[in-house]
Protein backbone atom coordinates (compact mmCIF):
# COMPACT_ATOMS: atom_id res chain seq x y z
CA UNK A 1 0.00 0.00 0.00
CA UNK A 2 2.83 2.42 0.70
CA UNK A 3 5.49 0.80 -1.44
CA UNK A 4 8.24 3.00 -2.80
CA UNK A 5 7.19 2.01 -6.31
CA UNK A 6 3.56 2.83 -5.68
CA UNK A 7 4.55 6.28 -4.47
CA UNK A 8 6.64 6.87 -7.59
CA UNK A 9 3.79 5.70 -9.77
CA UNK A 10 1.39 8.05 -8.02
CA UNK A 11 3.82 10.89 -8.68
CA UNK A 12 3.79 10.03 -12.38
CA UNK A 13 0.01 9.92 -12.42
CA UNK A 14 -0.25 13.38 -10.89
CA UNK A 15 2.22 14.80 -13.40
CA UNK A 16 0.45 13.16 -16.32
CA UNK A 17 -2.85 14.62 -15.23
CA UNK A 18 -1.32 18.06 -14.78
CA UNK A 19 0.23 18.20 -18.25
CA UNK A 20 -2.46 16.30 -20.05
CA UNK A 21 -4.16 19.19 -21.82
CA UNK A 22 -0.92 20.81 -22.88
CA UNK A 23 0.42 17.53 -24.18
CA UNK A 24 -2.66 16.83 -26.26
CA UNK A 25 -2.56 20.33 -27.72
CA UNK A 26 1.09 20.17 -28.74
CA UNK A 27 0.68 16.75 -30.21
CA UNK A 28 -2.39 17.78 -32.19
CA UNK A 29 -0.66 20.86 -33.54
CA UNK A 30 2.44 18.99 -34.56
CA UNK A 31 0.42 16.37 -36.44
CA UNK A 32 -1.82 18.75 -38.35
CA UNK A 33 -0.87 18.62 -42.03
CA UNK A 34 -2.49 21.95 -42.83
CA UNK A 35 -0.12 23.98 -40.67
CA UNK A 36 3.21 25.38 -41.94
CA UNK A 37 6.20 23.17 -41.21
CA UNK A 38 7.95 25.54 -38.81
CA UNK A 39 4.86 25.70 -36.58
CA UNK A 40 4.76 21.92 -36.51
CA UNK A 41 8.48 21.79 -35.65
CA UNK A 42 8.06 24.28 -32.83
CA UNK A 43 5.23 22.30 -31.32
CA UNK A 44 7.19 19.09 -31.64
CA UNK A 45 10.05 20.70 -29.69
CA UNK A 46 7.63 21.90 -27.05
CA UNK A 47 6.18 18.43 -26.75
CA UNK A 48 9.63 16.92 -26.25
CA UNK A 49 10.49 19.59 -23.66
CA UNK A 50 7.70 18.42 -21.36
CA UNK A 51 8.83 16.26 -18.42
CA UNK A 52 9.09 12.60 -19.24
CA UNK A 53 7.05 11.53 -16.26
CA UNK A 54 4.06 13.42 -17.61
CA UNK A 55 3.40 10.79 -20.25
CA UNK A 56 0.56 8.38 -19.75
CA UNK A 57 2.61 5.56 -21.19
CA UNK A 58 4.90 5.75 -18.14
CA UNK A 59 2.06 5.10 -15.76
CA UNK A 60 1.76 1.47 -14.67
CA UNK A 61 -1.34 -0.04 -13.12
CA UNK A 62 0.16 -1.57 -9.99
CA UNK A 63 -1.59 -3.79 -7.49
CA UNK A 64 -3.02 -1.66 -4.72
CA UNK A 65 -2.13 -4.13 -1.97
CA UNK A 66 1.23 -5.54 -2.95
CA UNK A 67 2.54 -3.17 -5.63
CA UNK A 68 2.91 -5.93 -8.21
CA UNK A 69 3.18 -4.55 -11.74
CA UNK A 70 2.20 -7.63 -13.73
CA UNK A 71 -1.10 -9.51 -13.78
CA UNK A 72 -3.09 -6.63 -12.32
CA UNK A 73 -6.74 -6.60 -13.27
CA UNK A 74 -8.24 -3.19 -13.93
CA UNK A 75 -11.63 -4.16 -12.60
CA UNK A 76 -10.29 -4.89 -9.12
CA UNK A 77 -6.95 -3.03 -9.08
CA UNK A 78 -5.29 -6.05 -7.46
CA UNK A 79 -2.86 -8.62 -8.72
CA UNK A 80 -3.90 -12.18 -9.41
CA UNK A 81 -2.47 -13.47 -6.11
CA UNK A 82 -4.36 -11.01 -3.93
CA UNK A 83 -7.45 -11.50 -6.09
CA UNK A 84 -7.36 -15.20 -5.38
CA UNK A 85 -6.98 -14.66 -1.64
CA UNK A 86 -9.80 -12.14 -1.43
CA UNK A 87 -12.15 -14.07 -3.64
CA UNK A 88 -11.63 -17.28 -1.68
CA UNK A 89 -12.53 -15.46 1.52
CA UNK A 90 -15.67 -14.10 -0.15
CA UNK A 91 -14.69 -10.46 0.15
CA UNK A 92 -15.30 -9.72 -3.53
CA UNK A 93 -18.96 -9.19 -4.21
CA UNK A 94 -20.45 -11.47 -6.83
CA UNK A 95 -17.24 -13.38 -7.52
CA UNK A 96 -17.34 -17.13 -7.17
CA UNK A 97 -15.43 -20.03 -8.59
CA UNK A 98 -16.38 -20.74 -12.16
CA UNK A 99 -17.73 -24.11 -13.14
CA UNK A 100 -19.91 -24.83 -16.11
Amino acid sequence: MSDKRNIQDQKRRLLAEKYELRRKLYKAFSKDTDLPNDVREKNRCKLSALPRNSSFTRVMNRCVFTGRAHSVYQMFRVSRIVFRELASKGLLHGVKKASW
Partner: protein, 102 residues
Protein backbone atom coordinates in the same frame (compact mmCIF):
# COMPACT_ATOMS: atom_id res chain seq x y z
CA UNK B 1 -23.05 2.77 -70.82
CA UNK B 2 -22.89 6.53 -70.39
CA UNK B 3 -26.38 6.62 -68.88
CA UNK B 4 -25.35 4.36 -65.96
CA UNK B 5 -22.19 6.41 -65.33
CA UNK B 6 -24.30 9.58 -65.34
CA UNK B 7 -26.63 7.95 -62.85
CA UNK B 8 -23.73 6.95 -60.56
CA UNK B 9 -22.33 10.48 -60.78
CA UNK B 10 -25.68 11.94 -59.78
CA UNK B 11 -25.99 9.44 -56.93
CA UNK B 12 -22.51 10.27 -55.66
CA UNK B 13 -23.23 14.00 -55.82
CA UNK B 14 -26.45 13.48 -53.88
CA UNK B 15 -24.71 11.46 -51.17
CA UNK B 16 -21.98 14.07 -50.85
CA UNK B 17 -24.55 16.84 -50.56
CA UNK B 18 -26.39 14.95 -47.85
CA UNK B 19 -23.15 14.36 -45.93
CA UNK B 20 -22.21 18.03 -46.11
CA UNK B 21 -25.66 19.12 -45.00
CA UNK B 22 -25.52 16.71 -42.06
CA UNK B 23 -22.11 18.03 -41.09
CA UNK B 24 -23.27 21.63 -41.10
CA UNK B 25 -26.36 20.79 -39.05
CA UNK B 26 -24.65 18.70 -36.38
CA UNK B 27 -21.23 20.33 -36.46
CA UNK B 28 -19.30 17.28 -37.65
CA UNK B 29 -15.79 17.58 -39.07
CA UNK B 30 -15.75 16.20 -42.63
CA UNK B 31 -12.77 14.53 -44.25
CA UNK B 32 -13.96 13.03 -47.54
CA UNK B 33 -10.45 12.54 -48.96
CA UNK B 34 -9.33 10.76 -45.78
CA UNK B 35 -6.22 12.90 -45.21
CA UNK B 36 -4.36 12.87 -41.91
CA UNK B 37 -6.05 15.20 -39.50
CA UNK B 38 -5.54 16.38 -35.95
CA UNK B 39 -9.25 15.90 -35.29
CA UNK B 40 -8.61 12.31 -34.30
CA UNK B 41 -6.47 13.41 -31.37
CA UNK B 42 -8.68 16.28 -30.32
CA UNK B 43 -11.94 14.40 -30.20
CA UNK B 44 -10.95 11.93 -27.49
CA UNK B 45 -12.05 12.82 -23.96
CA UNK B 46 -9.71 13.39 -21.01
CA UNK B 47 -8.64 10.50 -18.82
CA UNK B 48 -6.57 12.37 -16.22
CA UNK B 49 -9.00 12.11 -13.32
CA UNK B 50 -9.57 8.43 -13.75
CA UNK B 51 -5.83 7.81 -13.89
CA UNK B 52 -5.13 9.76 -10.72
CA UNK B 53 -7.76 7.92 -8.68
CA UNK B 54 -6.20 4.47 -9.06
CA UNK B 55 -4.69 4.14 -5.60
CA UNK B 56 -7.22 4.41 -2.77
CA UNK B 57 -6.61 6.69 0.15
CA UNK B 58 -4.76 4.97 2.99
CA UNK B 59 -6.59 6.05 6.17
CA UNK B 60 -3.67 5.00 8.34
CA UNK B 61 -1.69 7.86 6.83
CA UNK B 62 -4.07 10.47 8.22
CA UNK B 63 -3.77 9.40 11.87
CA UNK B 64 -0.58 11.05 13.24
CA UNK B 65 -0.30 8.67 16.20
CA UNK B 66 -0.27 5.63 13.95
CA UNK B 67 2.28 7.25 11.67
CA UNK B 68 4.51 8.15 14.60
CA UNK B 69 4.26 4.66 16.04
CA UNK B 70 5.26 3.05 12.76
CA UNK B 71 8.20 5.40 12.35
CA UNK B 72 9.29 4.59 15.92
CA UNK B 73 9.12 0.88 15.20
CA UNK B 74 11.24 1.32 12.09
CA UNK B 75 13.87 3.33 13.97
CA UNK B 76 14.03 0.90 16.88
CA UNK B 77 14.42 -2.03 14.48
CA UNK B 78 17.29 -0.18 12.78
CA UNK B 79 18.89 0.47 16.16
CA UNK B 80 18.63 -3.19 17.10
CA UNK B 81 20.41 -4.21 13.93
CA UNK B 82 23.11 -1.61 14.44
CA UNK B 83 23.69 -2.86 17.98
CA UNK B 84 24.30 -6.32 16.61
CA UNK B 85 26.55 -4.88 13.92
CA UNK B 86 24.14 -5.67 11.08
CA UNK B 87 23.10 -2.16 10.05
CA UNK B 88 23.73 -0.59 6.62
CA UNK B 89 27.44 0.00 5.83
CA UNK B 90 29.02 3.40 5.40
CA UNK B 91 28.92 5.09 2.03
CA UNK B 92 31.53 3.68 -0.31
CA UNK B 93 32.03 0.50 1.76
CA UNK B 94 29.22 -1.70 0.50
CA UNK B 95 29.79 -4.81 -1.62
CA UNK B 96 29.05 -3.11 -4.92
CA UNK B 97 30.86 0.12 -4.11
CA UNK B 98 33.95 -1.80 -2.98
CA UNK B 99 33.96 -3.73 -6.26
CA UNK B 100 33.64 -0.50 -8.22
CA UNK B 101 36.38 1.28 -6.30
CA UNK B 102 38.81 -1.63 -6.56
Amino acid sequence: MSSSSLRTMLAQAAVRGVAEARATIFGHVLNPTGQRSAHKILRKSFIGEKVVSWYPNDIQREDPTVVARKEQERLSKLEMLKRRGKGPPKKGHGKRAAKRNK
